[in-house]
Structure formats: C-alpha cells, structure tokens
C-alpha cells in the first residue's frame, strides 16, 4: 500500500467528495453511507470532530494508477435494486475516466415503495 503524501490525501478527499455527488445523482439512490461501518470509524470521527474535516463517505484508495472505490448506498425501491447498483458502478467509472479502477457497491438499504394500484390485498 503506498503512503499518500499530504497532497495525495487532498486528491483522494476531493475524488471521494466528487464521487459522492456522482453516486447520489444516480436515479434510485437515496443515501450514501460511510464506506466503513460505524465502529471502525470512531477514532476517525473523533479526529474529524477536532479538525472539522468531514468524514469521507466514499472510500477511494489509489494503488499506483488504479483507483479502488468502495461505497455503501441506500436505494429508493423505485427502480430494481440490482439495476441501481450497476448504474452506480457505471457512473463511478464514467467519472474516473480512462483510469483503471475496481469498484465495489454494497446496497445496505432497500426502501419498499407502496403497492402499485390494482393489486388486491
């Protein structure tokens, strides 16, 4: 794992923030959750409380030229969840451009929409 420099950290942060916006813009996505579960980020949360830096929601790590992206999302149920996951992965790749990337998308919440009219109980 490479050691990011201060400017590398900033680049990572910027990409993570951009990707968060990109993911939220995908049709069917309702929320982007922190990529690492709560208990793993308590130290990070404490640090960010002191520094005022926001917690990155999307995990972006650069290994050489390749970007490794991980995100956890909630979806609205308006579109089939698998389609949304694929759209999110596509949107991430589109944003990163020609740079090689591995993408992991995990759906942690699927809201169920109201029953369509006409279905009997």
């Amino acid at each position: 794992m490479n050691q990011p420099s201060a400017s590398g950290d900033a680049a990572q942060g910027a990409t993570a923030a951009e990707l968060r916006e990109v993911i939220l813009a995908v049709d069917g996505v309702t929320e982007v959750y922190p990529a690492r579960p709560l208990w793993q980020t308590i130290a990070g949360a404490a640090r960010s409380a002191v520094t005022g830096d926001p917690l990155p929601a999307v995990l972006v790590e650069f290994a050489g030229d390749t970007a490794h992206v991980r995100t956890r999302i909630g979806v609205s149920g308006a579109r089939p969840a698998p389609d949304v996951a694929r759209s999110v992965a596509g949107a991430i790749r589109a944003h990163l451009g020609p740079r090689p990337a591995t993408v992991q998308v995990q759906i942690v919440q699927v809201r169920s929409e109201a029953k369509p009219a006409g279905e009997s109980t």
Binding site: Y33, P37, L38, W39, G77, P80, A81, P82, A85, R86, A89, G90, R93, T102, V103, Q104, V105, Q106, I107, V108, Q109, V110, R111, S112, A114, K115, E119, S120, T121
Partner: protein, 209 residues
C-alpha cells in the same frame, strides 16, 4: 455545623438516614419513631426524593417520544451496523466490479412488505440457503403476527405473492419457497381500541407451509 456527617444531637446523622431510606438498614430502628430530629431529617430526605422524581418526570417529558425522529435515526443506524448479515451478489456489468446487497437490507424489505399488509406484523425473517452463490435455491422464512379474525389462508397467499414480487424485483436470488408462519395472534378487544397481546400459541391449522 459539621458538613459531611451532619450529626444530630441524638448521635445519628443524615448520612445514616439516607442509607436507611435506600436499604432499610438502621443500627437502632427503635430509636426512629421517637426522635424528632431523625423524623425531620427523614421528612427532608423524602421531600428531596419527591422533588427528584419530579425532575425525572420533567426530563423524561423533555426527552421526547420513542416514536420521534431522534429515535428513528438511531434505529436506522442500528439496523445498518448490526444486522448486515451475508452479502448477496448482484451481477456486475463490468468484470472485476463487486456488487452486493446485504442480507439485512433484504430482510428489512421483506418485513416492510409484510408490515404494509393490514392486520399483519413481521417478526423474525430468515433467508435459508447459500445466498452468496448465484442461482443457489433459497427459502424465505418469515414469522408474522396477525390480528385475529382475518382469513389466514388468503392473507398468507397474498403475502407470499407480494414478498415474491419484491424479491424478484430487488434481488437476483433463486427463491425456492416462501414460508409464512403465524407465530402470534392478536385479539382485538373492542372496536377501535388497540389490539391486546394474548400470546396464544397458533393452532396447527393456522400454519401455512
């Protein structure tokens, strides 16, 4: 006037009375009814206790309701963190991408579909089978509580249909069967009154395979 002991003329102290009110223990119980100082001390402590109760009541009122937003967001966070369960794969458009859904998100979906049926509330929900292998057969098992008087067979069939539809839409799982078990029956007391919980064990005919 001493501070920590607040000793009375009779030799006892407010500290001892405080302990007595909490535990009922007192070195010389026969002394209490006859000692005006101790009685006054007990009265004072009891008044403080009542005032303390008032504070708890006031603070409790200020803390809001268990159905408020603050609790809802705590519970939302809990659900995310505590019951993710296994990863359920979703076919990726690009080789090398890993797309998954958590078992917890699908259980929550099934419960939500169940809860939206009138007179039905979801209990435990399980996905039996190797959900991690695409195409492996999976059996859904969900416990429900129903309000007494609803036609169970019909309800179970409708529920199975809706669960199947939701899973077909939002997962790529191979659903082999959906088991709906009526685990509890709620008996409505009066028209319009909230249903009472009876914990009546379900009769064999109420269980649908």
């Amino acid at each position: 006037m001493s501070t920590s002991g607040d000793t009375f003329e009779c030799g006892h102290s407010l500290e001892q009375l405080s302990n007595y009110l909490d535990t009922g223990e007192f070195s010389d119980p026969g002394h209490l009814p006859d000692c005006p100082e101790c009685q006054a001390g007990l009265a004072s402590l009891r008044r403080l206790g009542e005032l303390g109760d008032e504070l708890v009541t006031a603070d409790l009122a200020a803390a809001g309701n268990g159905t408020d937003d603050w609790m809802q967001s705590i519970l939302d966070n809990l659900r995310l963190e505590l019951r993710p369960g296994r990863d359920i794969p979703v076919h990726a458009g690009t080789a090398g991408d890993i797309l998954t859904e958590t078992e917890g998100s699908i259980s929550a979906l099934i419960r939500s579909v169940t809860d939206s049926h009138p007179g039905t509330a979801a209990g435990k929900c399980r996905l039996d089978g190797d959900v991690g292998t695409p195409g492996a057969p999976v059996t859904v098992r969900v416990d429900v509580a129903v309000v007494f008087g609803h036609p169970l067979e019909e309800r179970a069939a409708a529920l199975r249909r809706d669960i199947a539809a939701a899973l077909a839409r939002h997962t790529e799982l191979n659903i082999a069967a959906i088991d709906v078990t009526v685990a509890d029956v709620l008996e409505p007391r009066l028209q319009g009154a909230p249903a009472a919980w009876t914990s009546r064990p379900p009769q064999p005919s109420e269980e649908t395979p």
